[in-house]
Symmetry: C2
Subunit: 342 residues, 2 copies
C-alpha cells in the first residue's frame, strides 16, 4: 500500500442524523438512523451456530459466533470451518469457566495435549505470527480527529495510489495502553503499530480481545492451537492476550448462555467433574445449517459516516443521564452494531 | 497540598522479589513474595456482607463488598452504612441484570422513584460533585516510570511540604482515554486531571468503574441516588459512567454469585416478574455481624514496592505463556490483590 496524505476539514456543524425535537443524539439514535446502504451482511460462511444442550427446564440455548474475515487469523478460521463441517464439536462440552476471564469448550481432555488426536485430517496448528502486515489492510479505514472539547473536529483523509480513501480514528480511540493505535477495520476492533506514518512498511496490525471475543486456546508453546479448543471472553478485555493468541471471532447473539454459566472450581477454572460440563449439541456453519436462512445478520459499516458519529457519541454521551461526557472512549467500549436481518 | 518535585533514579536492575531458579517472575509470584508489612487490613466497618437467598440446591451465596475509604464518595458510603445498620436491604432483592453491564439491587419499584419512601431518616441523596479536589489526597501515591522496552526505568519522587513522599504511576497506567492520569490510591483505582503539574490547585480526582465495582443507581437527575439502590459491574469497565455516578465500593469475594445471575428480559434488563428476582436475606457490616471476625481481609498496599512490581509485571507478562509482553496495561487490568486473613 502506498498512500498520499491529503488533509480535509470535515465540518460537522449540523449533525446529519435526524434528531427528534428535544431528544438528544445518542449511540442508539445514530444506529437507528443509519441508512440501509451503511449495513453490510455477514457471509453465511462466517457464521457459526452453536447449540448447547437445553437447560433443565427445556429452554434452547443458541450461541451465534461471527468468524473473523481476512486478513486476520485465517489459518485458524479455516480450521474452525473444517471442524464445524466435520461435526467435530457435536457431543463435546464447555468444560471451563473463570469469572472475569473466559469460558472454554472443545475436547477438553488436558491429558491429550494439543492438538487432540481426533481432529480431522488437515487441521494442524499453524506456525505463524499473530500479527498481519499493515499493508494487507486494503479497504478504507476511518480517520477522524476528535477533541476533548466534545466536537468532531476534522479528519485526515488518506488516499492511496488507486484513489481509495483511507480513514481511521485518531483522538478518540487511538489512545491505548497496548498498541500505538487502535481502529476499526471491516467491522472489527484492530490494534496496530501504525502511528503518525501510515505508510510505514514495517507496521503490523492484530485483532483485539474485547468482551465477547472468541480466541483459540493453546498450550504453552505458541504453535499449539488449532481452533478445536475455543474460548469466549466474559470479563474486562484481557488485552495482554493480544498478539499471544489468535482472535478468531466474536459472539453476536446468545452471549448470556456463556457468561452466566457457573464458574469452575478446579484448577484454572475447569469444572471438577464432567457432570458439571455444559454439553454441546451441535456446531454448524450457517451456510450448511438446515434453518440457516433464519440466521442472517448485518453489521454497521465501520467506514461509514454513521459509524464515525456513533464512535463520537460513545465518547461524548449526551443522553439525558450523562452530566459529564468522558471526551474519550476505549476501543472495547465501542461495540460494533450487529443486528438480525428480519 | 504543595509539592516540591525531586527526581531520583530508581534502579531495578535486580528484582527484589525472590525468584525461584528457572521460574519467571509473575504477578502471582510477586504478590506471594510481598512482606507482611505491605498488606493493610480493611476496617471491619468498611466491609459489607450480603447474604443472598440460598440456591435451589441449598448452597449459600455470600457476597463481600469493600466500601470506599475517604476522601471519595463518603456521603453515599455513610448512607450505605446507615441502611445496613437499619437492615434496610433485608428481604429486598436483585431485580436487574444486563449482560456486559450491571446487576442491580434494592427496593426496585421504579414507580416509587428516588429515593424510596421507606429509607431511614437522614438518608438523603447528596447534592455534591462526583469528584474530589486532588489536594485531599494526603497519602503517598506511587509514581514510577515504565518504558515500553520492558524495564522499570525510574521514578519521579514528589515530596510535599511536610516531607511526605508522593508517588504515582506514569508510563504504564497513565495512558487513558477517560482522564489525564490514572493511579492507585489507598488501594483503589483513581482517575485524575493531575498531569504534568501535580501541584495544580484546580485538579480533581475520582474513583474508576472497573469489573466488580459497586455504584449508586440513580434517576436521570444527578442528585437522586442515596445508596439504597446499588449495582455491580459485570462486564468491560463502563468508564463513561465515571464522574456521572458515585462509585462506592467493589466486590472482593463472591462475585460469581452476581455475575452468573440470569439476565433480565424486561426493559433495561429488569426481570419481567418479581419471581425471577434473587431475594436478599441480609446485608450487614462486618463490624456488627455475629460472625464478623471470620470476614477479615487485607489488601496489598498500593504505595508499596511490591505493588509497583506487580503493576510492572501485569504490563510486561513474563509467564511462560506470554510470547509478546504488552508493554502497557489498563488500570482495570490491575486488580488490587485482596485476601482473606486466615
Amino acid at each position: 500500500m502506498r498512500l498520499a496524505l491529503t488533509l480535509a476539514i470535515f465540518a460537522l456543524a449540523s449533525p446529519a442524523v435526524a434528531q427528534e425535537a428535544g431528544k438528544p443524539v445518542t449511540p442508539t439514535s445514530i444506529v437507528a438512523a443509519a441508512s440501509a446502504e451503511e449495513w453490510i451482511e455477514i457471509p453465511q460462511d462466517d457464521l457459526l451456530i452453536m447449540e448447547l444442550a437445553p437447560t433443565a427446564d427445556g429452554s434452547e440455548r443458541t450461541v451465534i459466533i461471527q468468524l473473523m474475515p481476512p486478513p486476520f487469523s485465517q489459518p485458524w478460521v479455516e480450521n474452525i470451518k473444517t471442524l464445524a463441517r466435520a461435526r467435530w464439536w457435536d457431543g463435546k462440552s464447555i468444560y471451563r469457566s473463570v469469572d472475569n476471564w473466559v469460558v472454554q469448550w472443545g475436547g477438553g481432555d488436558p491429558d491429550l495435549g494439543f492438538p487432540e488426536p481426533d481432529v480431522p485430517e488437515g487441521v494442524v496448528a499453524p506456525v505463524v505470527d499473530y500479527t498481519t502486515p499493515a499493508e494487507l489492510l486494503d479497504e478504507p479505514v476511518l480517520i477522524s480527529e476528535f477533541e476533548r472539547d466534545n466536537t468532531l473536529h476534522q479528519s485526515d483523509e488518506l488516499l492511496d495510489e488507486n484513489g481509495r480513501l483511507w480513514r481511521s480514528y485518531f483522538d478518540v480511540v487511538r489512545v491505548d495502553n497496548f498498541a500505538q493505535m487502535t481502529l476499526h477495520y471491516r467491522g472489527w476492533p484492530i490494534a496496530s503499530t501504525l502511528s503518525n506514518d501510515p505508510t510505514d512498511p514495517t507496521a503490523v496490525s492484530w485483532p483485539i480481545h474485547c468482551y465477547g471475543s472468541i480466541g483459540v486456546a493453546r498450550d504453552l508453546a505458541p504453535d499449539t492451537g488449532t481452533g478445536s479448543e475455543l474460548y469466549a471472553v466474559i470479563g474486562h478485555a484481557p488485552r495482554q492476550l493480544d498478539r499471544n493468541i489468535a482472535v478468531v471471532g466474536r459472539v453476536i447473539a446468545g452471549m448470556a448462555h456463556l457468561s452466566t454459566l457457573p464458574r469452575g472450581t478446579g484448577d484454572y477454572g475447569v469444572y471438577e467433574s464432567r457432570d458439571e460440563d455444559t454439553p454441546i449439541a451441535s456446531v454448524r456453519l450457517a451456510s450448511e445449517h438446515p434453518e440457516g436462512a433464519q440466521y442472517r445478520y448485518e453489521y454497521l459499516d465501520t467506514a461509514s459516516e454513521s459509524f464515525a458519529k456513533y464512535v463520537h457519541s460513545r465518547a461524548n454521551r449526551q443522553d439525558d443521564f450523562y452530566a459529564v461526557p468522558a471526551g474519550g472512549v476505549d476501543i472495547c467500549n465501542v461495540q460494533v452494531p450487529v443486528r438480525l436481518i428480519e
